[in-house]
Amino acid sequence: MKARVLSNRGIASSVYEMTFEWKGKKPHPGQFLMIDCQGKTFLKRPFSVNDFEEEKMTILYQVRGEGTKNLSQMKEGDILEITGPHGNGFEILEGKRVLIVGGGVGIAPLLYLAKKVKAQKLYIALGFKRETFLVEKFEGLGEVVVTTEEGSTGRKGLVTSVVEEMIGEVDIVYGCGPKPMLKALQEISMKANVLCQISLEEKMACGIGACLGCACKVREDKGFSYKRVCRDGPVFWAEEVLF
């Protein structure tokens, strides 16, 4: 599907926010889009839905390689080729005490989730290395705690320390961020016997479940199997994932 870029701006060093027209299906929080980043890239690249409202889609992305670099150079009026929304998204259990945990650019899918989560009580913990971004958009949606590694903004330390403190007060945790963070969420939530869903990343080709390229190891009765991050995920119950 073709989509017209409405805006594209840097919001932190090498982090951009892009909005584009969206005439396709309405996304569910945690779902992602496959975007042709043009230039010399060959495959489309996956990006989470950061926000969505009547025909306007937002993504938040970090420049990492050729594809994201090309994206960052796009301007209003440019046309993108996109498929999606893909994947399962977060399972929303209404009326719970919810903790949303994001690390770095992993906060991307969590804004739209925070808007749609229908919690009884919503805590939002956002962890950054040094520079923070997008925090203001979370404010008002729940009780926001920010951490930075050196304490330049908010609490000093890792966002998982916040989770450790609060785990007793919530019914479910939703997380997205770097692998070590997700692993910590898995441990903390399993120990506390609290529900936890995490959004994973893996290299993707098709994004729809056909190529079996985006394998993620999950627990099975008899041992393990590989699930597809793009179709069976990207969101998994933390307890089933084998890191």
Binding site: F42, M204, C206, I208, A210, C214, A215, R231
Partner: protein, 301 residues
């Protein structure tokens, strides 16, 4: 206008097929395209027992291509028959099953099991480069190709297609061995063996070290091999390797492929197979070609 072609006993509405391993069992793509429009569907390679496949990462993007190291993840031949075939049978499209054995006996076992209604062809994958014990060893040796083909030929009433690996000195010898073994058709090329290194970790990107290269990067290699094979066998040839649009498809048909298969392109654009069919139709209209067979093998050297 006639777009239909025949591969062995299989009648295809048009010469556009899906390449094994790039189209799953059709389910996912059925959300994007009408499967009834396809010439045929070749399903993901099956093994006797279910296989978990290789640990991630399994994919790596290269210049105009991808390396994959899926490791033949599949539910096994029984689960395929039970859980996937009924879905495929609900469409009016020939189903070709790709099989990857680790021994000749396994190929024969699967061919027998799959000699059932709803399946029109067996594609013998003697060439998957990802399984250490399996494919590779067979695919490069003409005697093995002959042997497997002959035994599978005996084990099934279906159209038998032998899929060749490009990782050989002389693909013509392999093709002739398959023909002599009784193959109804030959398909090629499978992926080209390749590798990538993570320079930060100083490790191969894949645990298996070697992966299979596909996509437009390999198209010139594929076209050359299809051309060579067409000149030495009289059975139909299914050409594939890097086809991204109807023009690429026409190149393969012109050199003599009776049908073409689209693989990696499905990942880039899930609508591509249908777009290629439409593109071929339009080309034929514009050039006033009545029958696709006028294009096939029409190359002037």
């Amino acid at each position: 206008m006639n777009l239909s072609v025949e591969i062995g006993k299989i009648k295809l509405k048009n010469p556009v097929i899906t390449a094994s391993g790039t189209f799953g069992f059709g389910r996912e793509y059925s959300e994007y395209i009408d499967l009834n429009k396809l010439g045929a569907i070749v399903v993901k390679g099956l093994t006797v027992k279910p296989r978990e496949g290789n640990p991630p990462p399994r994919l790596f993007e290269t210049a105009s291509g991808i390396l994959n190291s899926i490791g033949l993840q599949n539910p096994g031949v029984d689960a395929f028959i039970e859980r996937e075939l009924p879905f495929l049978k609900s469409f009016d499209v020939p189903v070709i099953v790709n099989i990857a054995g680790e021994t000749v006996e396994e190929f024969v076992y699967m061919a027998e099991k799959l000699d059932i209604e709803g399946i029109e062809g067996i594609e013998i994958n003697v060439s998957c480069p990802n399984v250490k014990k399996g494919g590779m060893a067979f695919g490069v040796n003409p005697d093995d190709i002959f042997d497997i083909t002959r035994k599978v030929r005996k084990a099934t009433s279906k159209t038998v297609i032998v899929k060749l690996t490009p990782n050989v000195t002389d693909i013509k010898v392999c093709a002739k061995a398959a023909e002599k073994g009784g193959a109804d058709a030959i398909s090629l090329i499978n992926t080209v063996a390749g590798m990538a290194v993570d320079i930060d970790k100083r490790r191969p990107v894949f645990e298996n070290v070697i992966g299979g290269l596909s996509g437009p990067a390999i198209k010139p290699i594929a076209l050359k091999m299809v051309y060579e094979v067409v000149t030495v066998v009289s059975i139909p040839v299914i050409g594939m390797g890097g086809i991204m649009n109807y023009k690429d498809a026409l190149e393969f048909l012109i050199v003599g492929a009776r049908a073409i298969a689209v693989g990696t392109c499905n990942f880039v654009n899930p609508y591509c197979t249908v777009e290629i069919i439409d593109g071929i139709k339009k080309y034929m209209e514009e050039n006033e070609i009545e029958d696709i067979n006028e294009i096939i093998g029409s190359i002037k050297i």
